[in-house]
Amino acid sequence: MLRIQCPFCGLRDHSEFSYGSDASVEYPPLDGSQEAWHDAVFQRENIDGVQFETWQHTLGCRMWIVVERNTRTHDILSVRPAHDGIAQALNPSLMIEPDQ
């Protein structure tokens, strides 16, 4: 079981979280082109290595977070709030890098 360092709640089992998607995807504007939307929704890399992904702490604080995870080793390298403003507002010392 992965354990994720929620920036708001601390180290928790991944069963409290739900996986969202690839956090590196930039969604086009709502009136963007069909190609751009197609690529954002369907064209995803299957990364072997470090990737950024969104998770929601569904059974906790319900915040969306961005998790930097190695898909090969399941090591979690960093965690931050998905919302940039909240990330900035948080004391940076709360963004602990989990034990490796």
Partner: protein, 993 residues
């Protein structure tokens, strides 16, 4: 085997005899015995029958690696099959039975299989039965399934009870700094020094007694109690009867604690087993090593076991297992055992395959009276139900040559030691071959895990203790955020082990077993090689080597060695196999824990739950919710009840609990903009005091959900979702605000639990509302028109939100009341409805009403349906962009022949048809058809059965064509008519009026 219990010695209490039953015989053992030791002391030698050949099997070991004494424990509903007698603590009244045998393990009819042994070689079942004609004809698996039943019966394990499990199981969660696996010398020293460094330590031991190896070392058993007390005093949490069966990501270990499996009369309040999810920051694996077998002729006979097993039976259980003992070894470890057995009074011959041994223990063994012979081993064992003699083999310049016979009653084997690296392997780390020590050991790695003791390939006792301390120091350093080198110094024997795996002489054909539990022989492995199975993973699957319940604990290395030899390679080139959890089998009961029966999943009850039950409601599941299904009157079944309820709603008024709808408070200065982006229809100009029906799409353009949203104030909305999609919608909206649209100032709160919801529907609904409202003027037609919303109070000062919206197609209201007021409000509303000849209605009538109107719900919005498909294209604004607006216009989704929502009538109006059927042209009933039926009901308004469904191109495309509702497994074909989905009151006069 001339076995006898010694008068003294061992970790058993001779003053506490325990009675038990074995295959109907009444026997006695002592407190501290395992079932295996008690059987051995009672002279029982045949304890099982092998998997394929039904060969008699006895004890092969004294631990979890056991492949012979696999038995069934308990009776009736508590019957537990495939238990290793070696790991089962004896208790008073234990009932055990042999398995895979008829009528008994002593006289097994299935043993005839052994005469046909050559037919049962590797791949036999596949080759013979899969190749039979029906397969070749492509007729499918019917024939295989027929044969399989017979094969499974003949080749099998014990049978489980078919009764419900009467025991309770628990899931428990644990946390610690350091988890130590194994309570042997290395585990204990690791735990003690870690605890003394201030760490919170859990020590898990799979055995029913703590001590590991020390339990069978006379010189250590005396100090063991003090040592364990010291561990407890240092704060170590000791867990015996607890197997660390798996190691997972994030330092999570799965532990199985057998709480009552060793008790005669378990207290009723105790769970049988506890499944622990243990989160540790560092894991020290001191799980020991398992002694390997050697492959030689008939090496599976009762009376043949590992040398270590005989040592354990002697030292821990006070049993001398034979009088005339031969030990075959390729390493130093057997010498001490030989001495102990000799000192206990047996005649012992030690055959060491190595020609020269430079060790002091040899001198020790000889002075203890052991006859040590070098360059010797065993070719074949004789005797079917017990060994009475052996054929010796002597090392020659080219392999082995046959020598004389020798009498014995117990044959012990030490083929070397395999460190238990299974837990490390669970982490995806492949063990590496240590050719000096002829075993797999842990590779270099960066996990917060350290190996200690013989699990690290360390054989010297003092060095094992030291390695525990080093592992603890390494762990503590790691916990302080620093790095240190993993201590790793395998070895410790005076004379190196010899890589010996099989003893055979050309011309001497004997069955020699590699994996005794699955009856895989050395010849099977060579045959697999001849047939082209060169990869270890393929070899495993073809021969089933290592795939029994012991996962090849005794035989895997031999199998690899034989494969390497056949390929002319070295063992590391052939590879290793991957160990997967669980290390030893765990019960399904432990996995499920308390999630059984009514606790299988959570139950959500509305605030009106009891009210509904008191009112005679029959409940049904809607997701996790219990909702009223129908309210039967005396003499009514569901069929009569829902038809009456539907009719009553259309004629007078009906009242229904709709609390389970999802409810979300959407608040903030940008709430309007937010809603305008997530709904397909315009929300920008929704006035305060108005509600609007809205549809949400997913990013990919398909419909996600629908519901109404009420504007309560300038920046204050109350959104409802379907019951089924409430959680999904909430999560998606939160994602949008926290990731994509971070600048929108909107706050979302799930208020599903805060409000009880009641629908009041029917021509007289206005009168009911008027009677209940504290101020009736607020709910008049002009004050509360269609799609109007008010926040007001009901009589009795009950706060309420009321909207005039309709799902039934009648004039109708939805009233939301703070949950605690739900029953009181319901009392009042129901009184007002009852005097108007109204009814309570449930989910079934709700469904009938909406089907008549062609309103879609979860059955239709299954994730494959576009807004056009659902007949709601007019709800899709072309004046704004919203989630899904781009991808819903993909060319494929705009095709005119996509399945569209339709209504369905039976041609013969007396006919019934079923939901889930497919719609086909009547002259072409095949394949997936042209559409499907999502919902059916009897429509009281129309006087016959009707349905909703989807069919290519929609109803206008099928106006004059013959269609059948095909239902081959239930009802057969029913001719139907495809009509508009708006089957009742299409103009909506009743709803708006």
């Amino acid at each position: 085997m001339n076995t006898r219990r010694l008068a003294t010695g061992g970790q058993i209490n001779r003053n506490k005899p325990l009675a038990f039953e074995w295959d109907g015989k009444q026997l006695t053992g002592y407190e501290g015995d395992s079932l295996a030791s008690a059987l051995l002391a009672s002279g029982e030698t045949i304890l099982g029958r092998s998997f394929k050949y039904h060969r008699p099997r006895g004890l092969m070991s004294a631990g979890v690696e056991e492949s012979g004494a696999i038995v069934t424990i308990g009776t009736g509903a508590r019957r537990d099959a495939n238990v290793k007698a070696t790991s089962q603590a004896l208790y008073d009244g234990l009932v055990a039975k042999g398995q895979n045998a008829w009528p008994s393990v002593r006289n097994d009819f299935g043993a005839v299989n052994t005469l046909f042994g050559r037919f049962f070689s590797a791949g036999f079942y596949y080759k013979t039965f899969m190749g039979l004609p029906p397969f070749e004809w492509g007729e499918g698996t019917g024939a295989w399934m027929w044969y399989e039943k017979i094969i499974r019966k003949a080749a099998g394990m014990g049978t489980a009870s078919r009764k419900a499990d009467p025991d309770a199981y628990e899931h428990a969660n644990g946390y610690c700094d350091i988890l130590v696996v194994g309570s042997g010398p290395a585990g204990r020293s690791a735990a003690l020094s870690a605890a003394q460094s201030g760490c919170d330590v859990v020590l898990a031991e799979q055995d029913f007694a703590l001590g590991g190896e020390s339990l069978s070392r006379a010189e250590e058993t005396d100090t063991l109690p003090q040592e364990l007390a010291a561990l407890r005093n240092a704060g170590v949490r000791l867990m015996e009867n607890t197997t660390a069966f798996g190691l997972y990501d994030g330092g999570v270990a799965g532990l199985l604690e057998r709480v009552t499996d060793h008790l005669s009369t378990p207290p009723r309040w105790m769970p049988r087993q506890r499944f622990w999810t243990m989160r540790s920051r560092f894991t020290i694996i001191a799980s020991g090593a398992l002694e390997r077998h050697l492959a030689f002729g008939n090496n599976d006979r009762p009376g043949i076991m590992t040398a270590n097993a005989a040592k354990i039976y002697l030292s821990r259980y006070g049993i001398l297992a034979g009088e005339n003992i031969v030990i075959a070894t390729n390493n130093d470890s057997a010498y001490l055992t030989a001495s102990s057995l000799s000192n206990a009074g047996a005649r012992v011959t030690l055959l060491d395959s190595r020609e020269q041994v430079l060790n002091s223990s040899q001198a020790g063994a000889q002075s203890a009276g052991v006859d040590v012979q070098h360059g010797m081993s065993i070719l074949n064992a004789k005797g079917s139900k017990g060994v009475y003699s052996i054929d010796l083999a002597e090392k020659s310049s080219v392999g082995w040559s046959a020598k004389n016979q020798m009498a014995c009653d117990l044959l012990l084997v030490s083929g070397g030691w395999s460190p238990v690296v299974n837990l490390l392997s669970h982490r995806g780390l492949k063990p590496v071959w240590d050719s000096v020590n002829a075993c797999f050991i842990a590779p270099e790695h960066h996990e917060p895990i350290a190996m200690a003791g013989s699990a690290a390939g360390i054989w010297d006792h003092a060095e094992c203790v030291q390695s525990g301390e080093q592992a603890a120091a390494h762990a503590v350093t790691h916990l302080h955020g620093q790095r240190s080198q993993t201590p790793n110094q395998s070895g410790g024997w005076e004379t190196p082990i010899e890589g010996l795996y099989e003893i055979s002489v050309p011309g001497h054909q004997h069955k020699s077993f590699v994996d005794p539990q699955h009856d895989v022989t050395a010849d099977d492995i060579r045959l697999a090689h001849q047939e082209g199975f060169v990869s270890v993973e393929h070899l495993k699957r073809y021969t089933t080597l290592g795939m029994a319940t012991d996962q090849g604990k005794m035989g895997n290395v031999i199998g690899l060695a034989l494969m390497a030899e056949a390929l002319g390679k070295e063992i590391p080139e052939v590879g290793t196999t991957t160990f997967r959890p669980p290390y030893t089998p765990i019960s399904i009961g432990a996995l499920k824990g308390r999630n059984v029966g009514s606790h299988f999943r959570p139950l959500r009850r509305t605030p009106l739950h009891d009210w509904n039950l008191n009112a005679g409601g029959t409940m049904t599941m809607a997701g996790l919710w219990h909702r009223p299904w129908y309210f039967a009157q005396p003499g009514e079944g569901i069929g009569e009840a829902y038809v009456r309820e539907t009719e009553t709603v259309r004629r007078t008024v009906g009242v229904c609990d709709v609390t389970s709808l999802g409810k979300i408070a959407v608040q903030g200065p940008d709430a309007t903009e937010f809603l305008n982006r997530v709904y397909t229809n315009p929300f920008a100009k929704l006035a305060v005091g108005k509600a609007r029906y809205g549809i949400m799409l997913r990013d990919d353009g398909f419909v996600m959900d629908d519901g109404t949203t009420w504007r309560l104030g300038e920046n204050d909305y109350f959104m409802t979702t379907t019951t089924a999609h409430a959680a999904k919608v909430m999560t998606f909206l939160e994602e949008l605000l926290q990731t994509r649209w971070q600048n929108l100032r909107v706050h979302l709160t799930s208020v599903s639990e805060q409000w009880a919801g009641i629908a009041v529907a029917g021509p007289q609904s206005r009168e009911v509302i008027t009677e209940c409202a504290a101020d009736p003027r607020k709910v008049t037609d002009p004050a509360l028109p269609f799609m109007g919303v008010i926040e007001t109070t009901l009589k009795g000062n009950i706060p309420a939100r009321i909207a005039r919206i309709s799902f039934s197609g009648e004039r109708a209201f939805e009233i939301y009341i703070p949950s605690d007021y739900g029953p009181a409000a319901m009392d009042m509303i129901w009184s007002a409805a009852r005097v108007r000849a109204g009814c309570l209605y449930g989910l079934e009538a709700l469904g009938a009403l909406r089907i008549e109107k062609g309103h879609v719900t979860g059955a239709e919005l299954d994730g494959r349906v576009t807004i056009e498909d659902a007949g709601l294209g007019r709800m899709a604004s072309d004046k704004k962009s919203y989630i899904g607006s781009v991808l819903k216009n993909r060319p494929e989704l705009l095709k005119n022949d996509r399945p569209r929502l339709v209504g369905i009538f039976p041609k013969d109006r007396r006919e019934i048809f079923n939901a889930g059927s497919i719609l086909c042209q009547s002259d072409n009933v095949s394949g997936y058809g042209n559409g499907w039926v999502t919902a059916v009901t009897h429509s009281p308004a129309l006087g016959h059965w009707i349905g909703l469904g989807f069919i290519e191109g929609g109803h206008s495309n099928w106006a004059d064509r013959d269609v059948v509702c095909a239902d081959p497994l239930r009802k057969g074909n029913t001719p139907v008519e495809i009509v508009s989905p708006h089957m009742f009151d299409p103009s909506g006069d009743r709803m708006y009026g």
